[in-house]
């Protein structure tokens, strides 16, 4: 949406194809954003303003199928059989949230009080954090790296956002439930964004969040309907067992199914992490293996909203350079 706005304002005619009924991706499912806890709707409003331009045609609820390049011109066929002609394409198919059921040992989809970060956002939005039986949880665990940094599920990479999401959500839990005890189980605290480390510190100082360094090994349910987690407290060098009322899994980011489909249909290269492989990691992160086709955002790697918007602007800039000067 950001790239579309930039291009439209620079005189390009843009067609934005979105398979969902509304554009905006995962942001619209989130309640508050890190690091400043802004309401996600503000970002959506901003983005909607970007695409509110006469040069932009929005095709929502539209998927794309085939693509061919004829004499330097792209012809994209939509799922409905229509054709869209374009001089350049930006692919911004985004990411899918990791399906937490795949980490079988955490029991998502089996144990009622194991939820994901997305489920928790939903609870925040409703303003109510409740266990499955309607009780208010007093002890809540948060598991980092679910589906990230994990060869077992085929994802070697770090999803970058889950650590900071965990910190943010831990603090929000405390805002809803002042007396709750919150425990983050992490392998490394990857606070590599502006104001992230500060938020982490605040979560310790003001919110009294507990941090335990160790990857949760398994989750089970005991006779009292509590979850039991097993982890090594690696900094004490001893195994640790804890009962919890609720466990939140920080689901990682994966290449979207839609992106995978397009990669196959259009012959776009993907990396070992299955995301689209940019032409160059240093100075060509928006360029692809097809001349005139560019990438924007999390279809190339996990990134946060700030980076995604910057990446979209960079994609627009690459498109302009390509259209005006033939550079690619």
């Amino acid at each position: 949406m950001e790239a579309a706005g930039q291009l439209a304002r620079n005189g390009c005619m843009v067609t934005l194809v979105e398979k969902e009924p509304e554009a905006g991706g995962h942001v619209k499912n989130w309640y508050h954003l890190f690091p400043d806890r802004r309401d996600s709707s503000e970002v959506i409003k901003y983005l909607e303003k970007q695409v509110d331009h006469n040069n932009i045609t929005m095709l929502t609820g539209t998927s794309v199928a085939g693509m061919k390049k004829d004499n330097g011109e792209f012809i994209v066929r939509t799922g409905g059989g229509n054709e869209i002609k374009a001089d350049a394409i930006i692919v911004s198919t985004g990411f899918d949230l990791f399906k937490s059921e795949r980490k079988e040992e955490y029991g998502y989809g089996i144990y009622d009080n194991v939820i994901t970060s997305a489920d928790l956002e939903e609870m925040f939005r409703k303003g109510e954090i409740k266990r499955h039986n309607g009780d208010t949880p007093a002890k809540i665990g948060i598991v980092h790296c679910v589906g990230s940094r994990d060869e077992k599920v085929g994802n070697l990479y770090c999803s970058k956002l889950c650590c900071i999401t965990a910190v943010k959500q831990a603090m929000e839990i405390k805002e809803h439930l002042e007396n709750a005890n919150v425990f983050c189980f992490y392998m490394d605290m990857r606070m590599g964004g502006a104001l992230y480390e500060e938020l982490y510190r605040e979560s310790q100082e003001k919110y009294r969040i507990n941090y335990i360094r160790g990857k949760v090994s398994e989750v089970s349910e005991n006779i009292n309907d509590k979850l039991v987690v097993k982890v090594e407290d690696t900094l004490a060098g001893r195994p640790l067992k804890m009962e919890l009322d609720m466990l939140v899994l920080m689901a990682g980011m994966e290449m979207s199914k839609g992106g995978e489909k397009i990669a196959g249909l259009w012959g776009l290269k993907t990396g070992e992490n299955r995301f689209f492989a940019p032409a160059d990691h240093h100075f060509g992160s928006n360029r692809s293996n097809v001349k005139g086709l560019f990438y924007a955002g999390t279809c190339t790697a996990p990134m946060n909203i700030t980076d995604t918007i910057s990446h979209a602007r960079a994609a627009a800039s690459d498109v302009m350079d390509y259209l005006r000067n033939g550079n690619n």
């Binding site: 900094l235 195994p239 640790l240």
Partner: protein, 114 residues
């Protein structure tokens, strides 16, 4: 118990829910900076005692937070309270005071550090 030549052992798993964290709470109240520790180990690496014995201030911090008080009680007096650890802490934790307060808490429990 030893009728068979072996016995049932207690295990070394930290049973978080069974542990008593009142010592940690006592310290948190009086020295809030204790919450800021990120377990980087700077204190332990500069610690004179730690360089000559098995004492680890970093580990003491974690054990206090988990309520593994017995292990702390048995080791804490190795600290000479020189305070060098405070100088290196990147989070500004008053590590020396943590030790002082832990000793006080033990004393209050009538369970002196040994």
């Amino acid at each position: 118990m030893e009728k068979f030549g072996f016995a049932i052992s207690k295990g070394r798993q930290i049973d978080y829910d069974a542990n008593d964290r009142s010592v940690a709470e006592f310290i948190f109240e009086r020295e809030p900076s204790f919450r800021l520790c990120i377990e980087c180990g700077c204190c332990a690496s500069t610690c004179t005692t730690g360089n000559f014995t098995k004492f680890s201030l970093r580990e003491i911090n974690i054990l206090l937070k988990r309520g593994e008080n017995e292990q702390v009680r048995k080791n804490i007096n190795k600290c000479m309270l020189c305070g060098k650890c405070i100088l290196v802490c990147p989070r500004g934790v008053n590590t020396r005071n943590v030790i002082v307060l832990a000793k006080q808490a033990f004393q209050k429990q009538g369970n002196y550090a040994i």
